[in-house]
Amino acid sequence: MSEYVIFLQRLSLVLCAAIFVTGVATIFLRRLAGWILIGQLTSLKAVAACAFLLSRLDQKGGGDLAVASLVAMGMVPSIAAVGALVLHRCGRFQGTLDLDEETGLRH
C-alpha cells in the first residue's frame, strides 16, 4: 500500500472525527434543546462511519469495530425517536423545562 493511500486513509479517519466533534460541539455551542438532538445524531453518524472505516483496515480482527458501527447506526433512529419524544414531553421545545407551568395548565 502506497504512502499516498495510507495518508488519505488517515485523513479519512480525521474527517470522521471532525464530523463527530462538529456534532458534539453543537450541543454546547447552540445551547437550545433542538440542537442537542441534531448534535447527537450528527456525532452518531460519524461514529458509525468511522468504526466501519477502521474495521476495513485489515482482513481479520475488525469484527468488533464493524459491530460497533452497526450499533451506532441502529442508535441513530432510536435517539431521534426517543429524544424527540422526551424533549417534547418535557416541554423543552418551547424553550424551558418549566414543570410549574405545565402543572398550572393542567389544573
Partner: protein, 164 residues
C-alpha cells in the same frame, strides 16, 4: 481511486454537517443533514462494498426526514434559554471536554509515529492493535474522558443540589 472518492465524499459530509448544525431554518437543516448522510453512506459503500453503505444511507435518510417532519409539524425552533444556568454551564463544559478528547485522540491515532503499525502492517490485526494501545500503552487517553465523566457527575450533583 475509491480511496480518493471516499475522501472527497467525507469532505462533503463534513461541510454538509457544518451547514446543518448552523442552520436557522428546518429546510436548511434538512438539506445539510441529508447531504451529510448520503455522503457518509456512499463513502462507506465505496470503502466497504456489499450493502452496508446503502443500508446506512437508508437509515440515516429516513431519520433525517423523521426529525425534519417533527420539527416542521410543531414549529420547533426554541427561542428561550434554559432554566438553570448553572446546570446548563456544566452540561456545555462536559461536551466541550468530550470534543477536545475526541479531537486529541483521533489526531494521535492517525498521525503519531507510534500508531504507524496500525496502518502499515496488513498481516497484523488492526483491531487488536487498537485495543492494545488503548488499554496498555496509552491508558491515559482512555482514563481522561472517564475521569471527566466522574467529575461531571459528582460535581454536577453538588452544584445543582442547591438549586432545588
Amino acid at each position: 481511486m475509491t480511496v480518493v472518492l471516499a475522501f472527497l465524499l467525507l469532505v462533503l459530509a463534513l461541510l454538509a454537517a457544518l451547514r446543518s448544525v448552523t442552520a436557522a431554518s428546518t429546510e436548511r437543516l434538512l438539506w445539510g443533514s441529508l447531504i451529510s448522510s448520503i455522503a457518509l453512506g456512499l463513502a462507506v459503500q465505496l470503502r466497504g462494498g456489499g450493502y452496508y453503505g446503502i443500508l446506512m444511507v437508508a437509515v440515516f435518510v429516513i431519520t433525517d426526514l423523521m426529525v425534519y417532519l417533527f420539527f416542521r409539524s410543531l414549529h420547533l425552533m426554541p427561542a428561550r434559554p434554559p432554566r438553570s444556568a448553572r446546570s446548563d454551564r456544566i452540561y456545555r463544559v462536559f461536551f466541550l471536554w468530550l470534543s477536545l478528547c475526541a479531537a486529541a485522540g483521533s489526531l494521535a491515532f492517525a498521525f503519531m509515529p507510534a500508531s504507524d503499525e496500525l496502518w502499515k502492517a496488513p498481516s497484523v490485526s488492526a483491531a487488536s492493535l487498537l485495543y492494545e494501545r488503548m488499554w496498555s500503552g496509552d491508558w491515559l487517553l482512555t482514563i481522561l474522558p472517564v475521569l471527566g465523566l466522574v467529575v461531571l457527575v459528582a460535581g454536577g450533583f453538588f452544584l445543582v443540589r442547591g438549586e432545588q
